[in-house]
């Protein structure tokens, strides 16, 4: 099956790009989190130990030798997955793991340090100094991991088919370049003409740069993208009240706008007792802008949605072993 590996400098939009490429091509995204979950499903006892750890060994207290063992196991698992499905692999030393593998596109995502520090500042609310330190630390850990496991340096240009400078390209442009490379190399199983326009997910770029306020908004955005629902994040602020000088004194910015549904969605994970103010604003918005369709997703609505997909930690389900007896 086809594999796209994406090696990224920290702060260069690699994660967003990988997710976007996977969504566009319909490939499975393999990152640290998904790998940990797969591990957990396969062997929960070893999962905690073997959540590899490219930025690694020191962070978790696992020794270098153990980290090497885990990397080997994770490498085996990723290689096995690549036999079964098309993958986009972000990090994980995949440029080393799949170095000479046919049917593989190796992408390197870079940006000048100043740009990456700025991104880290914006996304994580760090000072320039803290962001610089964070980036340097991640770089060192990743470099050590690649050197010890695969004996390579991420900076070696011979490891990559395509290198993208993210301070000069948008995520959307980078996506198009990767998709073009994938098609030119004949990696995609489904011909381009068979892809129905409008069924491709929307850009993660806006999502990332929009800086979601909380984990629920990120999860909801993923949910929309999963079903290919085009949306904008906080695209419009509705003035609700003005003072005597015409200055806006109260306004409301719904979280999501679903373009095809012409529907705004306000997501709140506050307890029901704390949403009175928000309810009042929504009522006012409906009164002032009667043509605007808005839906509030309360905490329970959101959790119901997650529960529907079995994503909440409910009571343990019946044990098939026990039932079969």
């Amino acid at each position: 099956m086809a594999v796209v590996t994406i090696s990224r400098e920290p702060g260069a939009w690699g994660e967003e790009l990988a997710a976007r490429v996977a969504g566009y091509l319909g490939f499975s995204l393999i990152d640290k989190k998904s790998l940990a979950q797969i591990w957990d499903e396969i062997n929960p006892d070893e999962a905690a130990l073997c959540v590899v750890n490219e930025s690694g060994a020191r962070e978790s207290g696992v020794s270098v030798a153990q980290n090497g063992d885990c990397a080997g196991l994770s490498g085996d698992l990723i290689a096995q997955l690549a036999e079964e499905q098309d993958l986009v692999v972000i990090g994980r030393g995949a440029q080393g793991l799949f170095h000479d593998r046919p049917g593989t596109l190796h992408v390197r995502v870079v940006a000048p340090r100043r740009f990456r520090i700025r991104q880290a500042q914006i996304l994580e609310g760090l000072s320039a100094r803290e962001a610089g330190r964070r980036i340097r630390s991640i770089e060192e850990l990743r470099a050590r991991h690649l050197r010890s496991i695969y004996g390579i340096s991420a900076a070696d240009p011979n490891l990559y088919d395509l290198t993208l400078r993210m301070d000069r390209l948008s995520v959307e442009q980078a996506l198009k370049l990767i998709v073009t490379a994938v098609d030119e190399m004949g990696l995609r199983q489904v011909p381009r003409g068979k892809i129905v326009s409008g069924l491709v997910p929307e850009s993660f770029e806006k999502r990332g740069r929009g800086r979601f306020a909380n984990a629920a908004e990120i999860e909801f955005a993923r949910f929309l993208e999963f079903y290919h629902i085009p949306y904008d994040y906080e695209p419009r602020t509705f003035p609700l009240e003005y003072d005597g000088n015409g200055k806006v004194t109260e306004a409301f910015t719904p979280d999501f706008y679903l373009r095809e549904q012409d529907l705004y969605i306000e997501l709140t994970t506050m307890k029901q007792s704390l949403v009175t103010r928000k309810n009042r604003k929504v009522r006012k918005l409906r009164r002032l802008y009667p043509d605007v369709r808005i839906l509030i997703f309360y905490q329970r609505d959101f959790y119901s949605l997650m529960a529907k997909y079995g994503l909440l930690a409910g009571r343990k389900q019946p044990d098939p072993e026990r039932i079969s007896r």
């Binding site: 995204l29 529907l263 994503l311 019946p318």
Partner: protein
């Protein structure tokens, strides 16, 4: 909709563990499904409809429904990956079991067990419409409009249900409860819905 006290309809306790209430009894389901079969048969008289069942939730409903449709018809099934949260490998919905036949020029009836947010049905409608059927209509046993995000034109509706977590008669929670002959409300304790609220 009135919720009545739990009656397991003869199922073993294990099968119904975690069911808080019976929302719609097996008898009420069978009665309504028979009516729906008549409605569908009348609507498609003179054509050969292709019923497309959305797996796995439609399984019991569709098998009962077709027995009450008194005209010739064809059946096919389609299956979509379910949303698995942030940790799942795939970031986009994918068809895991596609139709066996082309639907271009056909009269299609998409058969769902339940329409909730409308995301799954909306995705499938867009996908199927791209294949240029002559017509496509939607039939669902349950319509739960409380959190509808994508508007779905429902032509045939069994029951409109309140905002409760419904399982049974083909509908599952983590793949369980599909074999219940009635539609039950799952307790918050099982779904985990009681946990976040305590935070």
């Amino acid at each position: 909709m009135k919720v009545r006290k739990l009656d397991n309809d003869g199922m073993a306790d294990d099968v119904a563990a975690g069911i808080a209430d019976v929302l719609i009894s097996a008898e009420a389901i069978q009665k309504r499904v028979a009516e729906m079969g008549g409605e569908v048969g009348a609507a498609f008289r003179g054509v050969l409809p292709l019923l497309v069942g959305v797996l796995k939730g439609c399984a019991l409903f569709m098998s009962d429904l077709v027995r009450h449709i008194g005209i010739p018809l064809e059946m096919d099934f389609i299956c979509l990956t379910g949303y698995g949260g942030a940790g799942r490998p795939s970031g986009a919905a994918r068809i895991t079991k596609d139709l066996d036949s082309a639907i271009e020029g056909r009269d299609v009836l998409l058969v769902e067990g339940i329409i909730d947010t409308g995301m799954t049905a909306g995705y499938l409608l867009r996908n199927l419409e791209a294949r240029q059927p002559r017509s496509i209509r939607v039939c669902t046993l349950l319509d739960k409009p409380a959190r509808r995000i994508v508007d779905i034109p429902i032509a045939f509706r069994g029951f409109q249900v309140p905002d409760r977590f419904v399982v049974g008669y083909g509908l599952d929670f983590r793949q369980l409860y599909r074999n219940l002959p009635y539609l039950g409300v799952l307790s918050d304790d099982v779904t985990g819905l009681n946990l976040p609220a305590k935070k």
